[in-house]
């Protein structure tokens, strides 16, 4: 694999793992839901 391949793969993986972890952290740390009627 050449340098460009490494860069594209690592940046892409960082983006997808980073955004997923950020989203779930934010979601799970949000105030709990009110009980549904």
């Amino acid at each position: 694999m050449n340098t460009g391949g490494w860069i594209f793969m690592l940046v892409s993986l960082s983006i997808v793992w980073g955004t997923t972890i950020w989203a779930y952290t934010r979601l799970l740390s949000a105030p709990s839901e009110k009980p549904r009627d």
């Binding site: 694999m1 391949g5 839901e33």
Partner: protein
């Protein structure tokens, strides 16, 4: 005693996200994405891919979540009714039949492929897959096994896979009949984590393969990853690459599919939709890029070299069994993990296709959930049997996949973003998204939703029509099975249009706000 039906609803915030993610994560993540990326510039494919994600999928996805909850507040849960509300009238409502047609027709062929996954997983579990001889002989053996297992060698074959089809269809019906929180949500809460674990097992095995054959030192894991990820920037000037990226994003994220319109309509006014939409997209991308982008092509390259690597179903069902065979004793269990993973990915998607259709039948005809699922099962079952019967070279399947699973998806996405940005109004839409939001959507997305996404889609639609339609029209006129498949699709559209007209009369008689003219407090 109250005879009023208890309204359907989601159990938890996480539950609805996992259900939407389960709908999005499917076979396309593992089989279609790596093939598309390798064929369109490798790592450089990520540039148009991320552009399509930012300028098309995310904004249109958010628009769907917003329109769905807005329609749900008015008591509507089906695509035509919700688009009628957001699109302020009859034209949008009738275009909304696409939001029922797409999940309905895609379900007809998707459950057939789902049955293949279950059949392969079963065969690996009981040790029923045995490929012997040289690599070439194993490749031939895998193709023969595929033909026998799926019945795609000839038309009119109802074999063992039909039994697996029956199992899969029954499972789908049971899960959808059990309702949102009791069936779909519960199943996705188990299936999504299970898929992540299975994908991780297969990924670790693939990344630790090293150089399995000393006679071919160039066939190693790093070169396998390089085959997919080394960028070829010359492909970026090719319009086809941008078209492929947009197509992959649509195919993968279930945007313009009609599923989110139904799922999000069961949310309450103060439930979050902004972060939920973002999280569902992020989960899908994790499976697609994080797992799909590392597993399939790397494994195929390591054992078979560059010439053995292709994309699509061939890669999943014919090439990878040869790869598992080369892994020795562990191959059987890795093969089982792989095909069970594909099966879970497929069933979480197929249940999401049945649910919006069922909801539409209930809403338009005023029938019970049980009767609706019975009618939907009969119609979809007949369509699915048509695909199974005319399975030679997958002509019926391909015709449905092109005309409905690809073309209609572009069309519905265009209708939706025009309804959202130009009829309902991007300001009203954004304020709906802000209601109960756990994240603030950057305001520049208003500009993207109003101008960039519709323009991008119209260009993609025009390019798609110019590049793909003429060839498909020629194929249609020369292939009777494909032509009859399209005629059947036309009959389904006519049926759905009549049902929308019947629903319109019912909703108006019940005093419902079907044109979205009244405020809801």
């Amino acid at each position: 005693m109250s005879t009023e039906k208890k309204p359907m609803e989601w159990g938890t915030r996480l539950g609805v996200i996992l259900a939407v993610s389960g709908s999005a994560v499917g076979l396309g993540n593992f089989l279609r994405f790596p093939g598309q990326a390798a064929a369109h510039g490798g790592g450089a494919f990520m540039i148009p891919y991320i552009c399509a994600l930012l300028f098309l999928a995310l904004p249109i996805g958010w628009a769907e979540w917003a329109m769905a909850r807005y329609g749900g507040e008015r008591g509507f849960h089906s695509g035509p009714a919700i688009l009628g509300v957001a699109g302020r009238g009859r034209v949008a409502r009738y275009f909304g039949v696409l939001a029922i047609l797409i999940p309905m027709v895609v379900y007809m062929y998707y459950v057939y492929i789902e049955a293949w996954c279950l059949r392969y997983a079963w065969e690996y579990l009981v040790g029923g897959v045995s490929l012997t001889g040289s690599i070439e002989e194993k490749v031939r053996g895998a193709a023969v096994f595929f033909g026998h297992a799926t019945g795609t060698n000839a038309d009119g074959v109802l074999n063992m896979s039909s039994v697996f089809w029956l199992i899969v269809v029954t499972l789908n019906i049971i899960l959808v009949y059990r309702g949102l929180s009791g069936g779909i949500e519960k199943f996705c809460q188990f299936a999504l984590p299970a898929m992540a674990v299975l994908a991780m097992i297969v990924l670790i095995r693939v990344l630790t393969l090293g150089t399995p054959d000393p006679a071919h030192p160039d066939q190693n894991v790093l070169n396998g990853l390089g085959f997919l990820w080394n960028p070829d920037f010359s492909k970026l000037t090719d319009f086809d690459t941008w078209l492929a990226a947009a197509g992959q994003i649509f195919f993968s994220l279930s945007v313009g599919f009609g599923v989110i319109l139904n799922y999000a309509s069961y949310l309450k006014k103060n439930d979050d939709i902004a972060l939920s939409g973002f999280t569902a997209s992020a989960t899908n991308e994790l499976f697609e890029v994080g797992f799909g982008g590392l597993i399939t092509i790397t494994a195929a390259f390591v054992f078979l070299g560059a010439s053995g690597v292709g994309g699509g179903f061939g890669l999943g069902f014919q090439t990878l069994p040869v790869v598992f065979e080369q892994m020795g004793a562990a191959g059987r269990w890795i093969g089982f993990a792989w095909f069970f993973l594909l099966f879970l990915a497929a069933i979480t998607s197929s249940i999401s296709m049945l649910q919006p259709v069922k909801a539409f039948f209930e809403e338009a005809l005023g029938i019970s959930s049980g009767k609706a699922i019975a009618w939907v099962s009969i119609i979809c079952g007949c369509g699915s049997l048509w695909v199974i019967w005319f399975s030679k070279n997958m002509v019926a399947l391909d015709a449905m996949d092109f005309w409905v699973g690809t073309f209609c998806i572009f069309l519905l996405a265009t209708v939706q973003i025009i309804c959202f940005g130009w009829v309902w109004g991007v300001r009203e839409g954004m304020s709906e998204l802000d209601q109960g939001a756990l994240m603030r959507i950057p305001r520049f997305f208003m500009f993207i939703m109003k101008y960039v996404a519709p323009a991008y889609l119209l260009v993609v639609l025009a390019g798609f029509t110019y590049y793909n339609l003429p060839q498909k029209m020629t194929e249609l006129s020369n292939t009777p099975v494909a032509l009859w498949t399209v005629i059947i699709i036309g009959a389904v559209i006519a049926l759905l249009l009549v049902m929308v007209a019947m629903g319109e009369r019912r909703w108006r008689a019940a005093g419902m706000d079907l044109d979205g003219k009244r405020e809801v407090n």
